[in-house]
Symmetry: D2
Amino acid sequence: MSKSTLTVGLIGYQFMGKAHSNAYRQVNRYFDVPYQIRMKTICGQSQEGVSRACDTFGWEQYETDWRRVVDDPEIDIIDVSTPGDSHKEIACAAADAGKMVWCEKPIGNTLSEAQAIRDAVKKSGRPSVVFHTYRFAPAVALAKKWIDEGRLGRVYHFRAVYLQDWITDPAFPLVWRLQKSKCGSGSLGDIGSHIIDLGRYLVGEITSVVGQMETFVTERPVLESTSGGLGSATSGSAMGQVDVDDATAFIARFRNGALGTFEASRFAMGRKNHNKIEINAEHGSLVFNVERMNELEYFENAAPSEAQGFRTVQVTDGVHPFTGHYWPAGHIIGYEHTFINLIVEALRALEGNRDPSPNIEDGLQNQRVMDAVERSSNSKQWVNL
Amino acid sequence: MSKSTLTVGLIGYQFMGKAHSNAYRQVNRYFDVPYQIRMKTICGQSQEGVSRACDTFGWEQYETDWRRVVDDPEIDIIDVSTPGDSHKEIACAAADAGKMVWCEKPIGNTLSEAQAIRDAVKKSGRPSVVFHTYRFAPAVALAKKWIDEGRLGRVYHFRAVYLQDWITDPAFPLVWRLQKSKCGSGSLGDIGSHIIDLGRYLVGEITSVVGQMETFVTERPVLESTSGGLGSATSGSAMGQVDVDDATAFIARFRNGALGTFEASRFAMGRKNHNKIEINAEHGSLVFNVERMNELEYFENAAPSEAQGFRTVQVTDGVHPFTGHYWPAGHIIGYEHTFINLIVEALRALEGNRDPSPNIEDGLQNQRVMDAVERSSNSKQWVNL
Amino acid sequence: MSKSTLTVGLIGYQFMGKAHSNAYRQVNRYFDVPYQIRMKTICGQSQEGVSRACDTFGWEQYETDWRRVVDDPEIDIIDVSTPGDSHKEIACAAADAGKMVWCEKPIGNTLSEAQAIRDAVKKSGRPSVVFHTYRFAPAVALAKKWIDEGRLGRVYHFRAVYLQDWITDPAFPLVWRLQKSKCGSGSLGDIGSHIIDLGRYLVGEITSVVGQMETFVTERPVLESTSGGLGSATSGSAMGQVDVDDATAFIARFRNGALGTFEASRFAMGRKNHNKIEINAEHGSLVFNVERMNELEYFENAAPSEAQGFRTVQVTDGVHPFTGHYWPAGHIIGYEHTFINLIVEALRALEGNRDPSPNIEDGLQNQRVMDAVERSSNSKQWVNL
Amino acid sequence: MSKSTLTVGLIGYQFMGKAHSNAYRQVNRYFDVPYQIRMKTICGQSQEGVSRACDTFGWEQYETDWRRVVDDPEIDIIDVSTPGDSHKEIACAAADAGKMVWCEKPIGNTLSEAQAIRDAVKKSGRPSVVFHTYRFAPAVALAKKWIDEGRLGRVYHFRAVYLQDWITDPAFPLVWRLQKSKCGSGSLGDIGSHIIDLGRYLVGEITSVVGQMETFVTERPVLESTSGGLGSATSGSAMGQVDVDDATAFIARFRNGALGTFEASRFAMGRKNHNKIEINAEHGSLVFNVERMNELEYFENAAPSEAQGFRTVQVTDGVHPFTGHYWPAGHIIGYEHTFINLIVEALRALEGNRDPSPNIEDGLQNQRVMDAVERSSNSKQWVNL
């Protein structure tokens, strides 16, 4: 194996830690990429938790102090997959140590944190990655290709919802994702940031927004322990204030004249991971839904009028982006494969001396949009970016 | 109003009587057809029932003796919409009297009855109609057009199910549609005949069949009265034997080499009127479902491979068959419009001195297929037609 | 026929005139309503057009001067189905003459016109109707029933789009629906008003809005003649300014705390009549789309967790609102039936001495919302109602 | 890591070799199963091919002579993933050597081969596995659970199609899957066997069948080399006879009285991996389609009649079979996970001293059904099992 090796240190071992670990483990199994990934160190605060994760996910060793990972001269990539409140400190330290920063989204809990991370990365001169993985669903990659080829023409509408329902029960406890100090915002940062990224990726920059953030359940039971996980409240728990948004809706104008509508909510009963976008353009329309992520709906205006209709393209054929590397047509892939695909693209970019895309600049721009939405919700006015 | 008038006498006033009445009433409201329909007489056995139907459906007068309708010199068309056991007598008398016979399907309860009707009609030399109305769903008419144009190429598969669930409850009584003496057969004649017709219409003649007829619930409560309607059994009702099929499945070979599968059942829980067909052919595929009758699913093999997929054509645009006469694109029509469309085609045929299609010959050929299926189910062997 | 008769004079004979005529003609054929409708007079400016409509749609006589219809003492109901710029004059005259005013939506081209009509109707003391017919799709009526019964609980989200694509071609001419003087607004009034009505009907009053109106194609070919119809531009036509919105998006807050998003567009390629709403509430969710108007998607939170999912209720069974009067389960109805159903409800209200619903007050409230959206789009701020 | 280790030798490295390798590699990453899988040896005829597979898929070593793998005393499991014509020799040798036989389906190319394998396995007394992996789609596992719990009641109908389109082009060459000597049969064994297994799993044993096998394209270009892979024909290739079925349809009766229809085809244009089944039973219906394998459609007759409808259960929640081990609700899994899940079940069975299910007996019974279908197609009569 004469390939160059890239050695990874992963900070965080929960949901994202698991997904990233899988991607690092699998990427060389499916793709002939220019680098061999070495999964050296996984890091987390709980020794019991991280040691188990180390075994299960297939890392060489674990660590409980992220600084030791950042200081490890063998490590090329620091993957920041912790909750948002520690991103800035870890990412900046990693950048200062000359590591590549591969960071979960949103990159910071506030715009100023995101700015600090971007500045540190820029100063380091190293390539970076931000994990907006939905770009790498083959169907989204196909949509992007078609838009870039001009198949769609001028875009009039971008319409996006990201709907979940996991906190609709008022007895659901005040986990870290519901505490502004830990996560920065609620549905906006957690899921809204994904549809903002899809909008930027597929349509272009957003120039102004007006939005409304809502908190439907304002008090929730406090968790005994905040040691990670979703936890559960004991009956008779004290109640604490929810200080993040349960749902956020906003209207946006894009630089190219398109009109955008965005809605992120964790109060959409029955919607589990309903990240659905629609683009209406001059020559056709596209619809994508993460829950059926192997499909792209496409309306082509050039078809003979009696034969027009939205078609469901199964984006699983060898001719589609990423798909030939897994299974034959019609044999679907899942959520985890978007992470593998992202890493494929990142590795190809590194070999080509291109900065991977999306990178820390995308992370920052994403945060600027979220910040503008939040200011708009407070001021009750449109905010320019 | 200088148009020629065609005067109708309708025998039967239940479900089909209502649907036919609506079609006669509406056809001149939407289409500029060559004849003005005059709804003169509706006929039924129950004076109370038929007099109410006369008022409600908009007929000039009612009658309780069908022979008087057949004898009326003003009447051009005898529409036979009674249960199957009276078709032969009425239709033959009408034909002998020189009337046009417009007959509900299946035209007879047995092949010999169907043959007798066909012979009488042929002898009369008058045009005829059989009400296989699903041909006239705009989506089916579009499918036929595309097949005739060669857009699909050689057909490999015809796959059809007609599924309902209205008799799944074992306590549902022994209505006329469950008595062989009244209706000839069960699911086969009532709904199976529709998918046989769609197969013949879209793919061509069937040359051999092998089939299986099943009766899942063999005894049911006897109705007190058999005076029409679905009725209801009183508790403690006597039980009677079900002598028709609850479900029938058969495999068929078409003259053009296509392989057909057909299934008709009234025991498909949750399926209300699930008349769904799929055609797989050399250049593409088509799917149609009566429950979404304004849509035709179409797969076109000629599309670029990365953009292929089943598209849902909303067959509601002015460019589609029949559709420009009702409402703008996207404003759907319903079940009853298939009857109107059939009459439009029949009237146009009459003006052009063509025999309407489908006509009594189609009714007979349909019955031959059903007869072969029944014989196959008994003999446990393939039967040639 | 001992029923009371209600005599109608219909002003307008284009798309809405056709749909209303059908409803008046059919209502007594399917429903045992307390009144017999008499279709006396249809009125339009073009003698050629209205005389043909009179014959085709089944009216007793036609008229070219609406004042003569308003003055006819036999007429009980003046149905106002003209373009918006004549509503105020006709409706007020009809009300002043003591007629019932049954008016198409939006009732006026401006809030002040709507106010004037409401005041005249109120002064007349007569019952009124506004044709927000989508309330009468059986699936919507079922949704309303369930919400009123408490089956859904507190509503969190109302999400509505009404998407069409008939003016996406920049060569499409400057028809009356694109001229503010004729129609008041573009997508907002024509289709946005429908989803506003569904929001008010199902969720309740809107208290504040922020919106954005967009015109993507600002100049279009002028039509030679403005004599109604969609017309077509001759090549070399002069260009005229489009002064109405091609698309409008707005966010709304409802009195009960729900968050609403609304989007109306005629630039959504491939969407023909995509009037789709979603409600997310405490105990479940509902989705309805006019293009599949016989279906209601329903998520019920009370189902066992392993068996939860959005179900597609075919709202065609006899147990559902309005449906038992047409065809058996699974035999769908279409667009035109919503008008019939509205008239059924109106006639039942009249018999019960209730004001029909929706009535002129709903028309006015609808207009207040549209007016607020327009002001918000101009001021770039939220507007309270 | 104190877990027992099970050491695998995998014979075959193409499509199934890749899928099995992934499953062995991933199973311990997601599930806390009682055994640790050791991926020792992968075996194939082409040294170049298998050495690359060894590296890519993560095996310790490769081998080109399967007998050396069977003879390796360290190896516990011989996984037979070669084309059907070598199954018997390898599987019997492995069984004779006392190894566990884990075998791809169909286990033999003929009934007598399958019988021989079963006998050898039985004689060995070792547990066995047959890779009918679709049982382990979470949605299918859920369906099985519900049926076993009695939630569905008596089953009336099982309706299955497995449709693909990869050989519709007559220029597609005569690959091994189209040569009876290599693969035993065409669509019947390759894909039909899957739906037979789903029928047996969910409904029970089949007692009689009548079927029709069709070959639409009877001659195809011969491949230059038969060294595996799909290959491509050079122009001017000699033509060879296709001696397997392009499509097979059959009707079946189940022991419990249910009526089954089965259709497997590689000539269904636009269908890529359309393995779709429907069950209609006393208390409800189920629909499953591999192309949307994270979803189970369910109709529940016990729901209030006005709220009945087919619901789409996203089988991705922690409460569903297998699903809690991967990702949160709504984050879908793919084709490859069915193999992981099968191995989980097998390992749990081994620990519990139960024979895994499905095992070699299922493989044999599956083959009996296929054999009966083939005899029926030849004799044109029903065949009893």
